[in-house]
Amino acid sequence: MKLTLTVGRLFAGLALVLAGVAAAAWLWDDDIDPAALSATQPASTPEQAARGAQLALAGNCASCHTARGGQRYAGGRPIDTPFGTVVAGNLTPDPDTGLGHWTAADFWRALHHGRGKDGRRLLPAFPYTSFTQITREDSDALFAHLRSLPPVQRATTPHALRWPYGTPLAQALWRALYFKPGSTPPDPTQSAEWNRGAYLVRGLGHCAACHGARDLLGGQHAGGAMTGSHLAHGGWYAPSLTDPAEAGVGHWPLDDLVQWLRSGVTAQGTAQGPMAEVVVRSTQHLPEADLRAMAVYLRSLSPSALPAPAPAEAQATPVVDPARRQVGEKLYVDHCASCHGQQGQGAPGIYPALAGSRLVTMDDPGNLLRVITQGGFAPATAANPRPYGMPPFDLGHAELAALTTYLRSAWGHRAAPVSEVQVLTTR
């Protein structure tokens, strides 16, 4: 599987270079009008910078642009991609290593057109495919905020991309295939709240950067439909936001979804992995109105009512090895039931219910395996500043397969069993 992918990517890479030569001729229109760059810029105001600070939280900019334990916005965090490692840049106004020489128009060009100050094509790990939706007004406010930061000098860490992905030609073709600058006009058939939510989710929030399905070259079609994607970063799966069997929220009460985005914890479950980071660093800080708008939009992406269940005899029941299931049940009783309950009922808001949990029943058991083996605290937010946590469980492959197989067939679940091979490929 891995080998096929690698070979596939190699061939795709070669094809990319060849096609790029032809493509270069007709690549012309995805950059800013040069006149806009030389125009004089109005000075930014403190109000604008304050609004920009709020927008930067919605965009979670500091999360990628701050190294672990490093100075805020000074860059240096490595981001793993299937094509190599990309290192986020320094956004502070340091003249040598940051944005010290940038203007508001340069910044707008980066967000809207995906190009740096010198016109070079930025790598799409910087999600300009989403940020192109951001308005010029918001872009200027963000820039005013970044200008107000103390400058930090930090030697730039080079990216480590495999050939040919970082080459200008590869970037040119990638852009021709997957990127068109521009913003989606508001949908007049939807409410102002829905449109605000759509703007935040598609633009600043760049939710599609993780939840949007990608092809072999990391490109997204159909406006980045958020049908789920495997992340190179940490190995997590960002579940589909359109599928009620994964993370579609059309059937959640609106208030619960707002509460989940604010605290990371509701009776429906707890934000895990990279999403926990998003809740802590971004969504918990958003104004109520914006959270509600995002929730309204997100709920519109999947069905609002779940279809009536088919009669039990009409449902396909996966074949589960009874011996393996029994081993799993014993592991559950010994290690899990004291917190999650004999019936998987959990303790709402503290220990998630496992009965009915989509983390448990999703087709891909990867996140479930990750949660069991890594453990973790619920997101520490202002609403839940002293979270409860789950210990990491050091179980063998066979035990993990048995435990997850049990979970996926207990309490009326009918999800496919998990094999040891699946456990091995996930870890």
Partner: protein, 232 residues
């Protein structure tokens, strides 16, 4: 198929409305189950294992280490993942919780070490070695090597493998403390044989009962240490 699974799950949750939620004690000990899974019930760790005891260590030291793991100065993958994004206030509370535990130690496990290594190890620990520019462990870690408040950890009652791993991590630069990182300087002056000898001796010492850190540092600090609050 996916849908069928979902719906079955959904119906079962409805059925579960009757199963009473698990009752969870509102205590710090319960919240910190992720810590005690490895560091032992009540933070005492397991005799002979790699994982260090945290119960009764100075709160300042524990807090500093939690911050170090979270912010990239220490690298244990499990600790790093667990502590990601936890706020300072909670980490301070966690440190105080384990520091306040006053529990007896298990007897030190037998350490297979040569008598020569033990003699050398004891010399370094108690008196240091001026010719190798090595201050004594006791200069900072307390006359009894049980640590000193507010932030100096004790060195007794720790597994030999853990001690060796920490000295190695300082020597290779994967463990750091707040600058100036005095322990990194000292660890780099230790030869491999001396590292091993001092770990042998420390791990084989009986632990005083009760083992408590000294109320304050007992000797003048031989180096400037960020972790002890000295300015860089």
């Amino acid at each position: 198929m996916k849908f069928a699974a979902l719906i079955a799950a959904w119906w079962s949750t409805l059925a579960l409305a009757t199963a009473a939620p698990v009752s969870v004690p509102d205590t710090l000990a319960q919240r910190l189950a992720p810590c005690t899974a490895c560091h032992g019930q009540q933070g005492r760790a397991v005799s002979g294992a790699y994982v260090p005891r945290i119960a009764g260590k100075p709160a300042g030291y524990l807090y500093e280490q939690l911050i170090n793991f979270r912010d990239g100065r220490r690298q244990n993958a499990t600790m790093v993942a667990l502590l990601a994004d936890l706020p300072d206030a909670y980490l301070r509370e966690i440190a105080a919780h384990f520091a306040a535990l006053d529990l007896p130690h298990a007897p030190a496990p037998a350490v297979a070490a040569s008598p020569t290594a033990l003699v050398r190890g004891e010399a370094i620990a108690r008196r240091g070695d001026a010719s190798a520019k090595l201050p004594a462990c006791a200069d900072c870690h307390g006359e009894q090597l049980t640590g000193a408040l507010p932030a100096m950890p004790g060195l007794l009652g720790l597994p030999r493998d853990y001690l060796i791993a920490q000295l190695g991590a300082w020597q290779t630069g994967s463990r750091h403390a707040t600058a100036p990182d005095c322990m990194a300087d000292i660890a780099r002056r230790l030869s491999p044989a001396d590292s091993s000898a001092v770990a042998d001796w420390l791990a084989s010492q009986p632990v005083p009962q009760p083992m408590r850190p000294a109320a304050r540092p007992e000797r003048p600090a031989p180096l400037r240490c960020g972790s002890a609050g000295h300015a860089p």
